[in-house]
């Protein structure tokens, strides 16, 4: 092979390789970021969805009320691990779970609505 072509090929391969590495790195970082990003719970039709959510320690969970009636997110433990103010339609509440455990909660306005966050 001609040297120049060889160099070009080598260069291309290297760049491809580095590009690939970069992509791999990015996706690694991205998935790690996803783990630390907000996990979502959607409130709609008098239901928390998903009703049971498992997340790693350190996750911030965000509840968004998509229902046309207000709801709250209140821990059932004593003392309460978290307690949102009243969430009208489209309002959100976030809580970061820094300790492992099981966190049952409910809507204090409509107590039949219950959910659980399991932190591992």
């Amino acid at each position: 092979m001609r040297r120049s072509v060889f160099t070009a090929c080598l260069g291309a391969t290297l760049m491809l390789g580095m590009g690939a590495l970069g992509v791999i790195q990015k996706s690694f970082v991205a998935s790690a970021q996803q783990k630390m990003e907000s996990m979502e719970v959607k409130i709609d039709n008098f239901t928390f969805g998903p009703a049971a959510l498992t997340v790693p320690v350190g996750t911030t969970v965000t509840w968004t009320n998509k229902d046309d009636i207000p709801h709250t997110v209140v821990s059932t433990d004593e003392p309460k691990a978290f307690k949102s103010k009243v969430l009208d339609t489209d309002e959100k509440f976030s809580f970061t779970f820094s300790k492992a455990g099981s966190y049952p909660y409910f809507c204090s306005i409509h107590p039949k609505m219950t959910g659980k966050v399991i932190v591992q």
């Binding site: 008098f46 046309d68 009636i69 059932t76 009243v86 409910f106 306005i109 409509h110 107590p111 039949k112």
Partner: protein
């Protein structure tokens, strides 16, 4: 001679001037805007458009009051973008009754989000109602964020604990109960130990012939537990009222009229003045139910209640806003 046409009382088991068949017939008339009065042991009905003159002894009972419920001031979603307008229509309806009610009961969810301006707006609108006295019990929407502190400041003068109280009018004993505080996960409405103890003491010395009216937000009977439509410890409350010959329970919360007669107790829920909700189990959830705009007023309403002294049963009549 046909007994049927005369509507005479045939089986007066409780000796209170009303028999179950007659009472249920009266309830059926209620949907057409009829008005029932029990006088001298005979049920008389009048359609709202043909009522005799106000104040005439023939037609009017001795005590007349109105129940409104679930005004949800502050709600502005498609099910009703103008809850202030429909509350005003309810006031117009009340002001148009030929027997002017002496006072009003509001069985809760006055506001939608417990905001001061929402309570203020309701107060303002109700000022134009002819009956000047209004007695309130809170709904769960009235005690958000502050465990009911604002509600108690506004409407809880003279009340005990979480806002319960009683008063007397023309020999009828009224009891306002609170079943929307300290709700537990997965649970229903709850009265709680302190309130039950107070209730037992409050009615202990009353003669069993005293008509009782109990009003609270969440139904005190099991309408539909899956949707939280019931009160966990209401059986205890009703046990304290067992001795009375006439107990009328007035509730709200479910945004539709429903009634049940059980022995001496008549349970009745009122329509909302804001928006309707689906019948039990007829939808995924008990949220606001959209109806075509021109039908909205027909599914909202007020409840008119009349009592004739000497007769124990109260006549409870619902009328829609249109």
């Amino acid at each position: 001679m046909s007994e049927k046409k005369k509507d005479e009382i045939l089986h007066d088991h409780n000796h209170d001037g009303i028999d179950r068949r007659g009472f249920l017939k009266c309830m059926a008339w209620a949907g057409t805007g009829a008005f029932c009065v029990i006088q001298g042991g005979v049920l008389k009905s009048y359609s709202l458009s043909r009522l005799p003159e106000p104040g005439s002894k023939e037609a009017m009972g001795e005590l007349s009051f109105v129940q409104i419920s679930d005004s949800h001031m502050g709600f502005n979603k498609p099910a009703n973008p103008d809850v202030a307008g429909t509350l005003k229509a309810a006031v117009d309806k009340i002001n148009g009754l030929s027997a002017a009610p002496e006072f009003m009961l509001h069985t809760g969810d006055i506001s939608h989000l417990s905001k001061p301006e929402e309570f203020d707006t309701v107060d303002q609108i109700l000022k134009s109602a002819k009956p000047k006295d209004v007695f309130y019990v809170p709904g769960e929407h009235d005690v958000l964020n502050d465990d009911g502190k604002q509600f108690l400041e506004r409407y809880g003068k003279g009340s005990k604990g979480g806002g319960w109280y009683s008063f007397d009018k023309k020999g009828v004993h009224f009891v306002g109960l609170v079943n929307v505080m300290n709700l537990k996960a997965g649970g229903l409405g709850t009265l709680g130990h302190d309130q039950l103890e107070w209730l037992e003491d409050d009615v202990k010395h009353l003669k069993s012939s005293t008509p009782i009216v109990v009003f609270a937000h969440i139904p005190l009977w099991s309408v539909y537990p899956e949707w939280g439509w019931g009160t966990e410890d209401s059986a205890q409350a009703l046990a304290y009222l067992k001795k009375f010959g006439s107990v009328t329970v007035l509730n709200g919360h479910i945004h539709q009229t429903m009634q049940k007669v059980e022995g001496n107790v008549t349970f009745h829920t009122a329509a909302s003045t804001a928006f309707p909700q689906p019948a039990p189990g007829k939808a995924d959830s008990p949220g606001p139910m959209k109806v075509p705009a021109e039908q909205l007023k027909s599914v909202l309403g007020i409840t008119d209640v009349n009592y004739v002294q000497g007769q124990h049963a109260l006549a409870v009549v619902d009328s829609s806003l249109a």
